[in-house]
Subunit: 325 residues, 2 copies
């Protein structure tokens, strides 16, 4: 049994990770400032005897004064384009100051450390699928750079602590992930399409819809994370589902499942929107014996059911931002 | 007459910038923590009536409490491979926390802001020469990433302040620059070759020497900086000399000038050492009417004279690090 601190514990991925770690018998300390996390995701676990929670902004400090930690898992960050573009400076900070505070906490406790990086470090890739040693194609100062460069920086500072301080570190690169507890205003295709279909609205596709995405069900991701905690490997590891769909195919799948007969309309393509991204998961297969197991139809079923249960979505935000990814 | 705060004022480029700004009639506030800056570069100006100095680590805060600033110029950072690889975490911090502290100071004073970025944001480029809209080819977690990713992050956070807070910002990408007041242990080819030749030693070339470099004399760089302060343009601007030499050609030039008859020996190539880098300066030409004016032979003459005057160099550091770039 170990004691694990999870930053971003009230986020979509963070909350599933907390659930799994509690289920596996660990003590879990959750940390979130609710910038993009949801209070309901903390409330799920507050009654659990092995769960404690600290409301704090990890970019400003990590006020943990409890027993010795075995792991620090840094999962805090806005992750969807409407969120990080609304909070560009906070997004940059949680990648830099936030990662460093989490690294320092791990160092002080003699704990191991994992950072949640992203497929966005590959930017608009010129290599398909993307293996971990592909250096990416990222605009360092474009409108998405507050997220992409924050995560590239998070990898760099993690490796600096590993190389310079001998910290036992892990880096995962998370590809598009979906499932229950995504924010209704996440702004990416899964929530956009499902909520539009549940409301009986037309499904909106940015550009011609020929851009592809691969969709990983959150349980598969969490399984990969837990397996990586069980091995010693310091380079980045892709965790994603290599099954590729065009956005248009996906729109049709959601429509047919949730709202047959709904229209699909096309809007102007978003700036720096990647045309294609697909993980090469050879490394995770060999290192972890891991591969995604949940087919899209099945994961979509669970997600739609959860969204139905959560009640009607709030619709587009007041500022009308619904981004494309 | 304006009041300009320069971080990294005791660095090589910073000290030339201070000298020029004082010469142009401005008030200058220098800031340095001497991690890689040299105290002698502060002493040069301490008697000047318009120069004040604050010894501080800009990554931890900028304790300036004087009159309203018109400009904040963020030039603090280790810049040569042996320095930033000795201080990877400090290098990352001055790109993130340091840049943000400087941005916040500018914001508080209603001042304009400039950040010194670098040709290293292009990494090992696959496009030659490099225009500003080339996104680069950078390893996000390699041994050089503590510098490259820190500077890409510095650009991203600068643009976030520009877009989100309306700050009036400038970004320069500095290509290889040389001149008087470089540190003897800078570790890059100009100081390596000149000091080896002055000591009567063999000149050491990493790899076969076919990798190319372009060398900009520091006065040309400073002229470009001053011109960019006079126009309004927020994207990155390359400042460098497009005249390209192979490292081997350059070694021969130094040998013939300083120590004819000295040997040139080859050592193993360094990790992630870029094979070629040359600025496309079309933008600076059009925007600033700027181009480098000092030919390599002439700049080398001034540099060698200054190095001779500064006395015998200290030789390789105790840890024996002399890097390749």
């Amino acid at each position: 049994m170990t004691r694990v601190l999870v930053t971003g514990s009230a986020g979509f991925v963070g909350s599933h990770l907390v659930e799994r770690l509690l289920g596996d018998g660990h003590h879990v300390v959750g940390v979130d400032n609710y910038l993009s996390g949801q209070r309901g995701n903390t409330e799920l676990f507050l009654g659990h005897p092995r769960f404690t929670f600290i409301e704090a902004d990890v970019s400003l400090g990590l006020p943990y004064a409890g027993e010795r930690l075995d792991w620090v898992l840094h999962f805090a960050s806005p992750a969807s384009p409407p969120h990080y573009q609304q909070f560009p400076v906070e997004t940059l900070m949680v990648g830099a100051q936030g990662t460093q505070n989490a690294l320092d906490l791990a160092l002080g406790h003699g704990a191991r450390f994992m950072v949640a990086s992203t497929s966005e470090v590959y930017g608009d890739p010129q290599v398909h699928p993307q293996p971990e040693d592909y250096w990416g194609h990222v605009n360092p100062n474009g409108v998405r750079s507050c997220y992409d460069e924050a995560k590239r920086y998070a990898e760099a500072v993690t490796m600096a602590y590993h190389r310079h301080h001998g910290l036992d570190t892990r880096i995962i690169r998370i590809f598009n992930t979906y499932g229950p507890r995504m924010r209704a205003d996440d702004g990416r295709v899964v929530t956009n399409f499902v909520h539009q279909a549940l409301r009986g609205e037309a499904l909106t596709v940015y550009g011609d819809g020929s851009q592809t995405r691969s969709f990983q069900y959150v349980d598969d991701l969490v399984e990969g994370i837990v397996r990586l905690m069980g091995v010693t490997y310091h380079g980045p590891v892709n965790l994603g589902n290599p099954d590729e769909f065009t956005v248009l195919e996906f729109a049709r799948l959601v429509r047919d499942r949730v709202g047959p007969g709904l229209e699909i309309v096309h809007l102007e393509a978003a700036q720096d929107d990647p045309q294609q991204r697909r993980p090469d998961i050879t490394l995770a297969r060999e290192l972890l014996g891991w591969a995604p197991r949940v087919p899209l139809r099945e994961g979509l079923e669970a997600t739609v059911a959860a969204f139905r249960e959560a009640g009607p979505p709030r619709g587009p935000r007041a500022d009308g931002v619904w981004a494309a990814t």
